[in-house]
Subunit: 414 residues, 2 copies
């Protein structure tokens, strides 16, 4: 082996420092999901290609990794989590009691052009509620979004809500009957290009200036419909502070399959845009091969959350190795004492290691430093004789000697 | 979509009840790994096919899922975690300080014939220590195995240790110079087919009966070499009780690449055999395209652990949904009171839900039952007026009415 192996473009190796952030984000998501009664689900990486393709249009189909397996079956790599969940609902109808609240956090693959923030393998994190049309379902989603972002230390974000019903009513009132989808697509860019940009685009699409004026008038006057009002009321009762969510009549969400309330979350500082979205899709599950069930859901942009946390340094404590103590290895005669005390720390859930080789102490200290391990413990012959241990704090350089029996107490407080 | 979608043979959908066990096993593994100073690593699902093949022989190569991606690159699905880790060590040498203790828990894929307990997609869980030849490294592995199995409620298991050095010395002393690998392969079956079976096989391979007698004499008299003795001593100091590990001179471990101490764990009740194995492989990392580093590691049979726990019902509490309370939804006038109290429970980390629809109460109780939710909370107009809540214990059928402010206290104690 002379050629150094390479990682494929669009794919990532996650070294421990990245993994710590990713694991923390995942832990927070899962703990909130479970607290709100969502249940875990996982589906295979490979599915019959026919399960995956022909669902979201030709453009999407081109991005599905498909190939013939060794049994000559046409198979494909999971493209999203919505289609496999619909498959599960179809196959296990008798094992699942409705309403079914499930979360699913798994990798998906898209044979897309890699670019900053866009990968060929990335993590999706979906929560969905199947089998109920109640507005309480959407309210739960919003409450979860708030809880997750709050626990991840996000300070400036906005959960925007609208409803397809409201949007179609606005179009109706404005007298726009043809090309409704195209108008909505332009409106969807409101946040990015502003009222002026949207107007320009609608004029180029052939709308009269007066119609556009009417459109914006009705947008300005728009109120949540009955369902969305019920959602917003419940969101408030579920403890989400007013400043974190709002009715946003220009919110459209790209996909055609939404049938009711829609949700999108954006981070305002820095202006990185959407970090997740969702909404009600009462006809999609059946279209995808599942049973005829109303459904609503939300997808967290997992990789985006991780990127924001790393960029804004929202969780500085994750930079540190969770290993708190390293025992130096410098005297074979006291090794046994070190091992015993090491195990005591571990038994008290203080993550710790022993440097495995009897290398020069300078090298060992360097290793502790490079791995951001806060304390180095030393037991030499003097310490061993008197059941003592010397502890060096690697950030301050301070060194103290304790009774071994006091070490756990000291470390628990520091 | 008229055809019901199907899951590919050898692949699995994990519904919530399985996921709960899998997640618990993973949580236990990770918490022990971290307590012992191991760091997380993850690598991509797809690699260049050339990274994956030509490493473990032709038979293994046939089992690698390979295909041409849309850019006409020959790629393959991760076959194990050892090769990708060697790749990481090669690429990120400057970012990793040695010794490097990493854990990796990810799916791997093998185009193998599916059968009971053998899947085409399954989870591997590897811990490895790169960059040290110290016997403390193996001792750490053994301590971790004990901790994990103990925390998973395993009662009867045995961690067997041997060393390639011991085995080759036994062969040497017995005068066996030719076909050493073949003899070791037969010896490896000692646990399954006994002394008699091994003898039969060795005779069929052309060994003299007297040579076989000598072989078994030396096996009986075998002692750990210096390194293995150091491992065993450290294991004891790291708190592993004597009855859970032993020197086992008939332990061979199939693979050719081991160079020193070897480890295998088996469950004795029920006799399901190996649930994990590993050992020292000081030359393999380089062979696989990584740097020239001594290494030792252990792989937990993740799916086997899960199977044993489910078969022996070792963790009965996991069968229960972690959702503790369901608020019934039967009076629109008191819905707000229910939502407020629901959120209070969640704020106190008591996982709880509200039934989203105003269905018949019987249906709602059935739902709580089907989902093993222990308590159903009811706030009717009488309760709401007096800040009360009625709680029905679904296992006993008992029903009590409390002040709402007392509910959290009650649930925390029950």
């Amino acid at each position: 082996m002379n050629n150094k192996p390479q990682t494929l473009k669009g794919f990532r190796d996650f070294l421990p420092s990245s993994m710590r952030v990713r694991n923390h984000v995942k832990d927070v998501l899962v703990s909130v999901f479970q607290n709100y009664g969502f249940q875990p689900l996982e589906t295979p990486t490979l599915e019959y290609a026919s399960t995956l393709t022909g669902k979201y249009g030709e453009d999407a189909d081109k991005l599905v990794y498909t190939f013939k397996d060794k049994g000559d079956r046409e198979v494909g790599l999971r493209y999203d989590l919505t289609v496999p969940a619909a498959k599960v609902l179809a196959i296990y109808q008798n094992d699942i009691s409705l309403p079914f609240k499930r979360y699913q956090i798994q990798s998906v693959w898209r044979a897309d052009k890699p670019q900053k923030g866009r990968y060929r393998e990335f993590t999706q994190c979906d929560i969905d509620i199947y089998g109920t049309s109640s507005p309480l379902a959407e309210a739960e989603l919003v409450a979860i979004i708030y809880q997750v972002l709050n626990k991840l230390n996000f300070k400036k974000f906005q959960i925007k809500l609208n409803s397809r019903t409201v949007l179609y009513q606005i179009l109706e009132l404005s007298g726009i009957k043809d090309g409704q989808s195209s108008v909505l697509q332009s409106l969807d860019k409101f946040d990015k290009i502003g009222k002026e940009g949207v107007t320009k685009e609608l004029i180029s699409k052939g709308l009269e200036a007066s119609t556009i004026d009417t459109l914006f008038k009705y947008i300005k006057e728009a109120q949540p419909d009955e369902t969305l009002k019920a959602v917003l009321d419940a969101v408030s009762l579920l403890g989400v502070p007013k400043e974190f969510y709002s009715f946003s009549p220009t919110l459209v969400r790209g996909l055609d399959y939404y049938t009711g309330p829609i949700i999108e979350t954006s981070v305002e500082e820095p202006k990185i845009g959407s970090i997740g979205g969702g909404g009600r899709y009462d006809t999609l599950v059946k279209t995808l091969g599942g049973p005829d069930l109303p459904a609503t859901g939300y997808a967290f942009g997992f990789d985006r959350l991780v990127d924001v946390i790393e960029e804004l340094n929202l969780l500085p404590q994750l930079k540190e190795n969770n290993t708190k103590v390293m025992f130096a290895n410098f005297d074979p005669n006291t090794l046994n004492d070190s091992l015993k005390l090491l195990q005591e720390l571990r038994d008290n859930s203080i993550a710790s290691i022993i440097y495995p080789d009897n290398d020069k102490l300078g090298k060992q200290f360097k290793y502790a430093d490079a791995n951001s391990i806060k304390y180095v413990a030393l037991i030499g012959s003097d310490e061993a004789k008197n059941n003592l241990v010397t502890v060096k704090n690697m950030s301050t350089g301070n060194q103290e000697t304790f009774k071994q029996s006091e070490l756990i107490n000291y470390l628990s407080q520091n």
